[in-house]
Symmetry: C2
């Protein structure tokens, strides 16, 4: 590091360069978590706007922290006129790095240059995404979080410092080239960086930084610590685990009611209905005012849907149209640029935050609205001429810079909305198109307008490293096979959502977009066939709700993500390090979706145990690749040996008083216990301990149940036990 | 602008935000050019590293400056902690904006967000390119240059300031939406920014800025002023206007000699031969030392090529391999990171600059090398894991920041090389993969590894706005037709270059890459056919060398680019505002290349005059679209009515004493005079006035020639006059 300091000698007529290379102030903030502080901590960072405190108690309950592969003192920083640079050791050749948020382009991060800007569009492997997070974790068993709302460049162990070059190499003819390459690929081939490499965070605009280090011993525990540092994982409302269907953008209350009736008629399970922009008098930007034209008697209409078992979600974006009741109150509490002619809310201003929050509470949440979908809080596409974001140089009265606001706008929006729900002791399950670090406690699921199958799947896997939720919305598909595979992948995601907002008729009445638009619907038998296929897929998800809910509770209590990259659960199996198209769904299920319109795929089963193939009803050996053939819409799912998985009888929707009838399946002879969680499913009382733990055990060929806790109502009924 | 100031009120616990909104200090630096200065001028900018002084005299000779559509005082600036923001009025609905360098993705710039980073790859319409230049020009007849080596975001009249919203709109129900859109395109449709819009330059890292304003009255004159401000356009060596052929990357002196012989055998005109990385002992990074293995007796070998009429160009990149003789001397004068294990030269350090320059002079230029090709001085691809650039946070002993060095590395490299040539009173014609603003005087032509036909053509057109030269290198093609069309387009570019470096045998012996690699060559007749097609195309270029040389002289003397976007020459024809696939080649020729493998295309001929179709030998009316059908390899070219164009008998190469035999063609009855320029073609003596002007006139059915100037030798011989 010394060379960097030496070379900052001032050479020409430099007057304003502030060059400091410094050691950090190290402080242990919780067991296995350290802060390394440099310079002037920024005012506007995710940590300063955290939703919840650090879960100190839960952290104390985690396994003993593993040893770090470097000393905290080796993390170095340089603060210059217009940037802060952090250097973190990362020089083990075998080491691999994961994380950086909802990256659709890259899984293995070592050797890449990241540019962690919030963006509506992926750009190569830069990590620009709906949820860029300056957190990474290493196969050496630690995690690093850099607390910034600036847009960092991150050079992931890809650079050779000049200081690393050994003197013996200089003038050494044996290092000369003997063979000349004749392809670009060869010429540009990645050359292992020489000497001691580092992860370099280059943070323009910052004059200091807090770096947090999370101990392992493995990736899993480092991620758990990050999530508990963030305030713990979210517990969704129980109904949030069902299916969400978003309605026709050009529709009105009649088209929505048609969908609502059709879903129930066909018996397609559905918990949530989303209304698109047209519920308002104006969009883009948003009036946030019901349209009496398209949605007359909206309160009664919403109540009717609620009576049918639906929860209602409203699309919006936080750019306030001049005709909105919020315009005047927010006019002086917003940025200096407009987006689509609407105000950009200065959510850092507590008054603006409250005004926005209270408006949603009084006008919507108090009228049975249970969620929102916040669109376009990310940054616009690079080739789109429409300005749907304010510039990085925007100013806000609160003093936050435009770049920081861009990075945190979706997050601050979430906090404002969540406040209104919390004040009413209600949970929500909402959608948002952008978020930042420390989002683990937020009941908002990320989604995207882009739509590549492999990218969707990679995002699902990547989201698990950084406390993000991902909804691979089903929209268009090239064929029925692809449609069903997309629905099937969605059914194993954090949120299951069908979003055919562009077609006027329900998706199962005609899945071909053009024909749907022209009203050329399938005949009855055809509609039934599609609806049945949907129902089969969704029923599988509905049957796993108790199991998935338990996984979310582990997320809340222990920071363990409900869906996980395979490297997290099987750190010793190096073959998994490149697997970005399969994941753990809870503790027991390995899910490896069929892609595109395929009916086959290869799945590598982790070594160390057997796996029960749920589709073929057979055991398979771990440490092997298996070829799977299925019908599109089916999902290759494998149960880890010695697991207990309860399957519920599917319900059409989750009512507040739903009791799940469980068939508990036992896989293997010495299964580990599984704990289910029972609570009211809708309030925050669980945070005060109002939940029960229901431990399912299997011993000597017999299952047993042990329920503890203060919650009084019944949530589960066990029908039978089966062993595989 | 007031609102911006007001809203910067400090809100929370802000202590370090430096907020200044300020008026600029205005100074006229030359007739029709003003500097508006804000804050602290940066130390490292193109202006501080200019190659040549402002051409004050030439500027005084330009037409009277046009009136600006805004007052200079309206250009405002805000300097904040980590960025400088400049606001420039641009609020005429009819106005269109062009420029920003070698943009391959966008032509019309209004409404776009640019991110002017040097990059090996275009990213959408952001303007990231090999030559991003913070200069733009407007159809309202002015130009703006922002003198920075930082990476600016530019918001081109795309943002509505909150201050622009009119009070009457607030709570106005008539502004509400009546119809809801149901396609993403409609929802995101560009909405004309409301109120007064601006071009906003957001420059992270700067604490002040110089903005230069160039008067018109039209785009053409604004561009001329910019080029003269840059020091005037380059005059190439005469031989630089011929064809350059780059050799096989895996080859040696034998393969190069085979090409050299084959070219002459087939009579394909060629002036320059390029040697690829393997001329050295090591690449990537570069030893810059001849390989005795592949190029034994290199001096004699080069001399032999020179004797055959070739000029020799060496590939390199400015990353210094440990085995290079330059390594030790530059070790302490280079950045703190390595690229491909090589040093990044600190060209800002005068010693490093000289060491690099002198090494090239003594080792290569003194040994008959006439040019270099500097690869990879741009920034690596976003999805390429290979680090072929140092990070923005690099430090250099000179004090220049890594972002500034990245933006200027190619430019500073050019200056170092050029110095060595100038010291020897020799011109060069070299290649470089990156440059910055104020590059007009540089004899270096940009090229790219990417290869889209339309992008190539758009870059050729765009380059004309900002003093750049562009070489659309011919590499692979999907068919013989496409190959010939690519060769043909290249023949009307700033540099004509065939670069099939990946095939071991000459391109005309086999144009199919795979077959060429496998040695499956065409039969003799087939080779002749391809060679003849090449020769026909290249001969046309060779015949236009005197005309093109004159155009470069106009560039030098008047700042008028030799190739020009059509809007520059025909500002009144609004139909041309979107034409990014045709251009003026000198004053008289409109060139509209056939694209891809097409044999047809549509060409819009500017209104106001007739056009002589050189291929069909007929006059065509202006103000019309015409359908052109030709054989691939031919180029639709149209001569503006009342022009004089001399056509030379093609030579195989341009020797120092070449005398061009001219057939002067006159198009129309009252042609404007054309001035040719004669000089030694190789030295800088023309800068001391050692050149002749040869005025060609046509009156009353008779041509006349008037030669003035001190140059003693004969360069042109007029054989005949013809009138069309």
């Amino acid at each position: 590091m010394l060379s960097r300091i030496i070379f900052v000698a001032v050479f020409l007529m430099m007057s304003f360069h502030l060059c400091l290379a410094q050691d950090g102030q190290i402080e242990e903030v919780a067991p296995g978590i350290w802060r390394v502080h440099f310079g002037q901590t920024e005012v506007f960072t995710p940590d300063r706007f955290r939703e919840k405190d650090i879960c100190t108690e839960s952290l104390a309950g985690l396994p003993e922290p593993g040893e770090l592969p470097f000393k905290l003192e080796e993390i170095q920083c340089q603060i210059r006129q217009a940037r802060t640079i952090v250097y973190i050791p990362c020089d083990e050749p075998e080491e691999q790095i994961y994380g950086f948020g909802l990256d659709s382009g890259a899984y293995e991060q070592k050797g890449l240059r990241k540019y962690l800007t919030v963006s509506a569009q992926s750009i190569g492997k830069t990590g620009s995404s709906h949820g860029p997070v300056p957190f990474y974790t290493s196969t050496k068993g630690y995690g690093i979080y850099v607390d910034t709302a600036r847009v960092p460049f991150v050079h992931v162990a890809r650079l050779s410092a000049k200081a690393s070059i050994s003197a013996s190499k200089v003038n050494d003819p044996s290092s000369e080239t003997t063979e000349i390459k004749t392809t670009v690929e060869e010429l540009y081939a990645a050359r292992a960086a020489e000497g001691r490499t580092e992860v370099v965070f280059d943070i323009p605009g910052a004059a200091g930084i807090d770096v947090y280090v999370f101990a392992g011993p493995e990736i899993k525990q480092a991620v758990q610590r990050y999530n508990l540092f963030s305030g713990g994982g979210v517990v969704p409302p129980l109904w949030g685990l069902g299916m969400k269907y978003r309605n026709y953008g050009g529709g009105n209350k009649d088209t929505v009611m048609e969908v609502a009736n059709s879903l129930r008629k066909f018996g397609i399970p559905c918990d949530m209905l989303g209304l698109e922009p047209g519920w308002q008098t104006a969009a883009y930007s948003c009036s946030l005012k019901w349209s009496d034209d398209r949605f007359a008697d909206h309160d009664a209409f919403v109540d009717k849907l609620v009576g049918m078992g639906y929860r209602v979600n409203l699309w919006e974006h936080a750019y306030i149209h001049p005709s909105s009741p919020l315009f005047e109150p927010l006019k002086d509490k917003s940025g200096d640029f407009l987006v689509w002619g609407g105000l950009v809310v200065d959510f850092v201003n507590p008054e603006a935050f409250n005004i926005f929050s209270e408006y949603h509470g009084k006008n919507f949440i108090d009228h049975n609205i249970t969620g929102f979908k916040a669109d376009e809080c990310d940054r616009e596409f690079v080739d789109n001429a429409t300005p749907f974001n304010y510039p990085y140089c925007s100013t806000f009265g609160s003093g936050i810079d435009g770049d920081q606001m861009t990075q945190m706008y979706g997050y601050l929006y979430q906090r404002s909305i969540l406040r209104a729900f919390k004040q009413r002791n209600l949970r929500t399950w909402s959608d948002v198109r952008a978020t930042c670090g420390l989002s683990s406690p937020m009941p908002f699921v990320l989604y995207s307008d882009s739509y590549g199958f492999n990218e969707y799947l990679r995002q699902l896997v990547n989201s698990s490293f950084t406390g993000l939720l991902w909804s691979p919305e089903v929209r268009e598909a090239g064929s029925l096979e692809e449609l069903l595979n997309r629905v099937a992948m969605s059914s194993y995601a954090h949120q299951m959502c069908l979003n055919p907002w562009f077609v006027p008729n329900p998706l199962w009445t005609q899945y071909d977009r053009g024909k749907n638009e022209r009203g050329e619907l399938l005949d009855n038998a055809g509609q039934e066939k599609v609806a049945d296929a949907f129902t089969r897929i969704i029923n599988r998800r509905m049957s796993l709700i108790p199991y998935l809910y338990a996984a979310y509770y582990e997320y809340y209590l222990q920071g363990l993500p409900p869906l996980r990259a395979l490297v997290m659960d099987f750190p010793d199996d190096k073959k998994l390090r490149r697997v970005d198209d399969a994941f753990m769904f809870g503790a027991a299920l390995l899910v490896a979706p069929l892609k595109e319109n395929a009916s086959q795929r290869t799945v590598y089963l982790p070594a160390g145990c057997r796996w029960y193939d749920l589709n073929a009803d057979i055991w398979r050996e771990g440490g092997n690749e298996v070829q799977i053939s299925l019908t599109p819409g089916e999902v290759p799912v494998f149960v880890k040996e010695n697991s207990i998985v309860p399957f519920a009888t599917p319900v059409e929707f989750v009512a507040d008083d739903t009791v799940f009838a469980l068939t508990v399946k036992v896989f293997g002879n010495t299964p580990v216990d599984l704990t289910l969680y029972a609570d009211d499913g809708i309030s925050w009382n669980f945070e005060k301990g109002e939940y029960n733990q229901i431990k399912l055990s299997w011993k000597d060929g017999k299952g047993s149940v042990q329920e503890t806790g203060p919650y009084q109502k019944k949530r589960y009924e066990i029908i039978s036990w089966e062993q595989k």
